[in-house]
């Protein structure tokens, strides 16, 4: 009898760098890359899944102008409560931005990376963007610099970018076919003209591809972001993935369209929906092939500060940083110590993992179905968040091949829920809906009240692995399930209905 699987693609052939099937963990997705690249990304939270548990990033909003319009973006939007790309609270000038970066670097030593990602396009504001980078090169040389761009102005700026040691660039590429592009981009500004329709999309695509090639030729690491828009480019993105990989992009990040009527975007107002969690995962798996897929992206704001998934921007508003007195020399020393300690911890975890592979090999003797588990964490790669405080859960898949990271699901913390969600849906209902497909939820603590409804939905709450490393705990629970005979059978009816 063929065993039922939750995710065919994933369980039949391990993807990412894990094709040996014995690495036991997705953070080894980097294992096939040359050392030089692994070295560049090992402390970059937006490029390494493992690093994102430990290292923080920040964006400075110095680039408000844009040279294109996307149907998922509303240029009038400006709000402190929304968390999505293109949204900021205050635009900074380069001097203010540098001050903010140094204040954050001194306060959050885990912050390794500064990106400029808007709220417009970094390269549509070259003067402001490059002034910021030049000052940071001089004043804070221990910070990695990156740029996020739509690619239209990329070719003309590659040379300049290389001057400031920008070695990570993200290009948002949603299509390689102008007919698809015409449904995503209403206009571009090009050669002193506003150009619309298919012609605009064709120019944008050409510039993006040219920019990608130029960056790769210069040895700059390129990540490609794609927004998955059901019915518009969802089927097309597999081809995009193949092409950008062939041209040397080293990581592909397929993100879900964020589209609500209240955002006032074309897609929001015309009822274009985003993908479901399942649709997104299926496309990410389909794109995977032998390419690294990024699954831990939180689609952060253009002024986000902190670990991915958290935003400490409110601690660093202009008036607050104005009052801070930063001794950057001292901060750099402290930062170097913190980074060394984290790297040491990661090294010892890598060593421990090698010995753990034995138990995975044991698991593989028996054909077992993969299981999705949700994890509540505050960072550090351990289970250290209460169920009721979690505003997001990380999703891991355990299978005979080991543990792999699948993505994250946002929710409303159970303890803050109440009646705030409207439609009579409680915070717990939202969490249960978001965790559909998961059979276990691991957290440091879980209260009595949510226990029953979670179990009834086929999601087993588990607080027994508090403070343990996530992957170890997921694997241990998977092993318990195997011993209990739960891995050969179809998940029960309640789980399916959930």
């Amino acid at each position: 009898m063929e065993l039922p699987v939750l995710n065919n693609t994933a369980s039949e052939a391990p993807k990412g760098g894990c094709s040996a099937g014995s690495c036991g963990s997705t953070d080894d997705q980097m294992s096939h890359l040359p050392d030089s690249i692994r070295d560049k990304v090992k402390n970059h939270p937006c490029y390494s899944e493992e690093a994102h548990h430990y290292f923080a990033r920040m964006h400075v909003a110095v680039a408000p102008a844009c040279n294109i319009q996307c149907h998922y973006c509303n240029r009038k939007y400006d709000c402190s409560n929304e968390s999505r790309p293109g949204v900021v609270s205050e635009v900074l000038n380069p001097v203010q931005a540098v001050k903010k970066v140094m204040a954050v670097a001194a306060t959050i030593p885990q912050m390794t990376v500064l990106g400029i990602a808007g709220p417009g396009d970094a390269l549509a504001n070259p003067q402001r963007t490059f002034d910021t980078f030049r000052m940071l090169n001089e004043q804070a040389p221990d910070i990695k610099l990156c740029v996020s761009t739509n690619g239209l102005a990329l070719p003309e700026n590659v040379e300049e970018m290389c001057k400031y040691n920008i070695d990570h660039v993200t290009i948002t590429i949603n299509c390689v076919d102008p007919d698809v592009g015409a449904k995503i981009y209403p206009w571009i500004f090009w050669n002193n003209k506003r150009i619309k329709g298919r012609e605009a999309a064709a120019i944008l695509i050409e510039q993006q591809q040219k920019g990608l090639e130029m960056l790769v030729a210069k040895g700059v690491l390129v990540k490609v972001n794609s927004v998955m828009i059901p019915g518009v480019n969802d089927k097309h993105l597999e081809e995009v993935s193949k092409i950008v990989k062939a041209k040397g992009a080293f990581l592909h990040n397929v993100m879900p369209l964020i589209s609500e009527e209240e955002h006032g975007t074309y897609y929001g107002l015309t009822g274009q929906r985003g993908p479901t969690n399942e649709e997104l995962q299926a496309l990410q798996d389909a794109c995977a092939g032998d390419m690294n897929m990024m699954r831990h992206c939180r689609q952060c704001r253009a002024d986000a500060v902190g670990l991915l998934g958290e935003d400490r921007g409110a601690e660093f508003t202009l008036d607050k940083i104005e009052a801070m007195d930063i001794d950057y020399e001292a901060a750099m020393k402290m930062r170097a110590e913190v980074h060394a300690a984290i790297n040491e911890e990661l090294e010892s975890k890598h060593k421990a993992k090698e010995t753990k592979l034995v138990s995975i090999e044991g698991l593989k003797k028996e054909a077992t179905r993969p299981v999705l588990m949700a994890v509540a964490t505050k960072g550090g790669g351990v289970i250290n968040e209460h169920f009721g405080h979690a505003s997001e859960f990380l999703i891991y898949e355990a299978s005979g091949n080991g543990v792999r990271f699948i993505g994250h699901r946002k929710t409303i913390p159970y303890c803050e829920g109440g009646d705030t969600c409207g439609d009579g849906e409680s915070a717990l209902d939202v969490t249960i809906r978001e965790l559909s497909g998961c059979e276990v939820v691991l957290c440091s603590k879980v209260g009595y009240e949510p226990w029953g409804p979670l179990e009834a939905a086929g999601i087993q709450p588990n607080g027994e692995h508090a403070m343990e490393a996530i992957e170890d705990a997921v694997l241990a629970v998977y092993e318990e399930m195997r011993v209990a005979g739960k891995l050969a059978a179809e998940p029960d009816a309640a789980q399916k209905a959930a």
Partner: protein, 84 residues
């Protein structure tokens, strides 16, 4: 002959560096055009530069007070949806 930026402007800076007459300047609460300097790009460009990059419908008016980018012309959002 001059254009005018009105309160819909979001201060995105996109127009300012493009103006061939340096007529656009940063101001509170939003960018402004110096009517004495604005040439509507005549002689420099086929199309007025500020109005060609401005992402906000209705933010720039011509000398007759007409919107250079009327509602729906940039975003493609149907007018009945914009009104709602």
């Amino acid at each position: 002959m001059a254009f005018e930026i009105i309160e819909y402007c979001t201060n995105c800076y996109a127009c300012e560096p493009l103006c061939p007459s340096k007529a656009i300047y940063e101001a509170k609460p939003h960018f402004l055009i110096d009517p004495a300097k604005c040439t509507e790009c005549a002689g420099d460009f086929e199309e007025p530069q500020c109005a060609s990059i401005c992402p906000i419908e209705g933010a720039i008016l011509n000398e007759d007070g007409e919107e250079l980018n009327p509602p729906g012309s940039l975003t493609g959002i149907p007018l009945q949806k914009l009104a709602a």
